[in-house]
């Protein structure tokens, strides 16, 4: 875990509407921050000479948002993203912490790689970084990594993301072994034989575009395997970037049986469908991701899962790729899109303003549940805890410009979208790291000494 606390400054974030689902707070409170931690929470706290920053009306203060599925690409693929640019992109999107996937080069399958990531993150000193280790050495699917060592070095979960855990036997052992450390296995659900060389959702759209399909059941079959193994072992399995309604059905069944299964969905899977592949000249490679954009019935199922609580987490699967890599034909372009800076506007616009969920429920999805699943600090605002806070402007209108993203890569399908709701400011360890220049009043959240 990185330490980015600020020990010198004390200040008061005054009279902001605080939404903190875990403490049950939803009202106007003052937050006193000292030494990078929350020192006091209350109404009309004395400012006794320390600086005081008034939260503009309409803004909402929440526990810092946590994205538990991010590809930071460093080490090895620094032309796509670095730990510094990725964590800055996180902060610009309202995230105070990210968990990063191990499919780097080399793979994060040893403590030395984990330590390298944490060192880089500390140097950057933006969002907190929680590394996720590989399940198998090189994510090759044969030999378990030294999970104990990785856990000690700072890994908070294990996954072979990019690929599923190769065999049922390996998954069984991984769940058993990781349960000793109370760490979840995060699964990229995909049956390799059914996926084949598919590049888009298997359905009428791919069929007419002449693109090889990836059937929905490629995902749900693997989910069912893993849920059964979690049931057998008592281990915790977390299904990453769910896209298919069949997978959600499997999760609901598992949960109802008491299996320790949790799941996440990415914003593109509850905002887009494969129909988008036909727009414009067609074949926009910024619509190519794995799992692929599915049908409207799947999109609606994801929205319903968010509404009824069967989905635990929203994470972005932030997957930066260089423009040259995405400028290939659809079948040759790599899978994945950036997501850190577009997540909050998409969630507030398409879920909160659309009446699907409350802002409080959104905070659970983007902060409370990730912290709980990964057993990391945050997810609630408590006295003594690090002052990691996100200030949201739910009613501000923003227009996404892919070219203006601070991520090193600009591969977003949401270029040009105008959405209502955004992160106004991001506070990590008591420091206001980012205020959103597109939102009127956000700049006033910067304490004077930060300038």
């Amino acid at each position: 875990m990185t330490d980015v606390t600020d020990v010198t400054n004390a200040w008061v974030l005054k009279n902001g509407r605080v939404i903190d689902p875990r403490s049950g707070r939803d009202g106007h409170f003052d937050l006193r921050i000292e030494g990078g931690r929350i020192a006091a929470i209350g109404k009309d706290l004395p400012t006794d000479g320390v600086r005081s920053v008034e939260v503009p009306a309409g803004f909402v203060v929440t526990p810092g948002l946590i994205d538990m599925h991010v590809h930071l690409r460093e080490p090895g693929q620094e032309h796509k993203e670095t730990i510094a640019t990725g964590t800055w992109s996180a902060v610009a999107g309202g995230f105070t912490a990210v968990a990063c996937m191990p499919n780097t080069d080399p793979v994060n399958d040893s403590a030395s790689v984990t330590q390298f990531i944490l060192k880089r993150a500390a140097e950057a000193n933006f969002a907190r970084v929680y590394p996720i280790g590989a399940v198998s050495i090189g994510s090759q699917g044969s030999q378990l990594t030294e999970m104990g060592d990785l856990r000690t070095a700072g890994c908070v979960a294990f996954t072979d993301d990019g690929h599923p855990v190769a065999t049922a036997l390996l998954m069984r052992r991984a769940l058993e072994y990781a349960s000793m450390f109370d760490v979840p296995i995060i699964e990229h659900c995909e049956d390799p034989s059914l996926k084949g060389d598919g590049v888009a959702h298997e359905g009428a759209v791919a069929s007419m575009l002449g693109l090889r399909g990836i059937p929905s059941v490629a995902e749900s079959i693997m989910a069912e395997r893993d849920i059964s193994l979690a049931e057998l072992t008592g281990g915790r399995v977390h299904l990453a970037h769910m896209s298919a309604r069949q997978t959600l059905r499997a999760v609901r069944d598992g949960k109802s049986r008491g299996v320790k299964v949790t799941c996440e969905v990415a914003p593109h899977h509850f905002t887009l469908t494969d129909e988008a592949l036909k727009e414009g000249a067609g074949y926009n490679t910024n619509l190519k991701m794995n799992p692929p954009l599915r049908e409207e019935a799947d999109r609606l199922a994801m929205v319903e899962g968010l509404r009824d609580g069967s989905i635990d987490v929203i994470s972005t699967d932030h997957a930066p790729h260089h423009a040259d890599e995405k400028a290939l034909t659809f079948d040759h372009a790599p899978f994945g899109i950036v997501g850190l800076e577009t997540c909050v506007p998409l969630c507030i616009d398409r879920l909160v303003h659309a009446g699907v969920i409350s802002l409080s429920r959104l905070v659970e999805l983007l902060s409370c549940r990730p912290a709980e699943l990964l057993r990391i600090p945050g997810g609630t605002i408590t006295v003594g805890a690090p002052a990691d806070l996100t200030v949201l402007a739910p009613d501000a209108s923003v227009t996404i410009s892919a070219g203006a993203l601070v991520s090193k890569s600009k591969n977003s399908p949401f270029d040009g979208w105008t959405l209502k709701g955004a992160a106004a400011a991001t506070i990590v360890g008591g420091r206001v790291l980012y205020t959103n220049p597109a939102i009127p009043g956000a700049a006033s959240l910067t304490p004077s000494w930060e300038n």
């Binding site: 298997e202 359905g203 009428a204 759209v205 791919a206 069929s207 007419m208 575009l209 002449g210 693109l211 090889r212 399909g213 000249a281 067609g282 074949y283 040259d324 400028a327 290939l328 034909t329 659809f330 079948d331 040759h332 372009a333």
Partner: protein
Amino acid sequence: MTAAVRLRSRHLLGISDLDPSEIELILDTAVAMKEIGTRTIKKVPALRGRTVVNLFFEASTRTRLSFELAEKRLSADTMGITAAASSVIKGETLADTVRTLEAMSPDIIVLRHPSSGAPHLLSTFCHSGIVNAGDGMHEHPTQALLDALTIRERKGRLAGLKVAIVGDLMHSRVLRSNVLLLTKMGVEVRVCGPRTLMPLGLSALGVHVTYSLDEAVKDADVVMMLRLQHERMNGMFLPSLREYFTLFGLTRERLKHAAPDVIVMHPGPMNRGVEIDSVVADGPRSVILDQVANGVAVRMAVLYLLAGEDVTP
């Protein structure tokens, strides 16, 4: 159906972009182009001074020669570039190659590429007109147009005809372009092939889907056989060629249930004894050689209609 007076787009990316009146325009123009092939001097100066590049990332002798002949008959300056199969593996050669070509400012690029959507990608950054000569499993618009010309020539019309398309439907760009064209023109289309090679979503296009060759062929005015690619012949799509021919091979016996004046088509190259019996392929109902001749005329028509400066008179 009245023909359009011009094509709206500078590119021919697929039949999906054409409306019925544009299809009529291309076919009518092709009829006039066909006459040029009957002359002693089979050449007109229409595209004199225009440059056409044939960019083939996939081996295809027939289509390439057909385009080359069409270009030569229109007096265009042509260049052929056939990328080695090894460089096709990496898609990046497409953008790189085309940027180099653009320095020579070709008026039209004819592109054959193994990736679906490759011509669409090109059209987003390229100044030349793009003609899709086949992209992956997506479209092969000039093939569908030459098939339509052949049918219209033999039957005098398209609307109201019954056309059966049989074979590996999933991997066939000929199937997709033909289904789009024929349904736009009011043809009753039946498609037939093994379930393992049947793409999703065909019935939503108003096409009748069947796994019975006899049902597809019954009373058909046209039977169009598709090529079974060698790589599909083994493995999990089909148990054996013998069984494929038994279930889906077109024989004289099975053709008896078609309309008496049925015509048999094949985009070539044929696998004799796999999808079609030689007796049928070379028989009196076969119009396979007409298709080849019409290919040149249709490609002349497309090139002619796309060439030239865009002007407002």
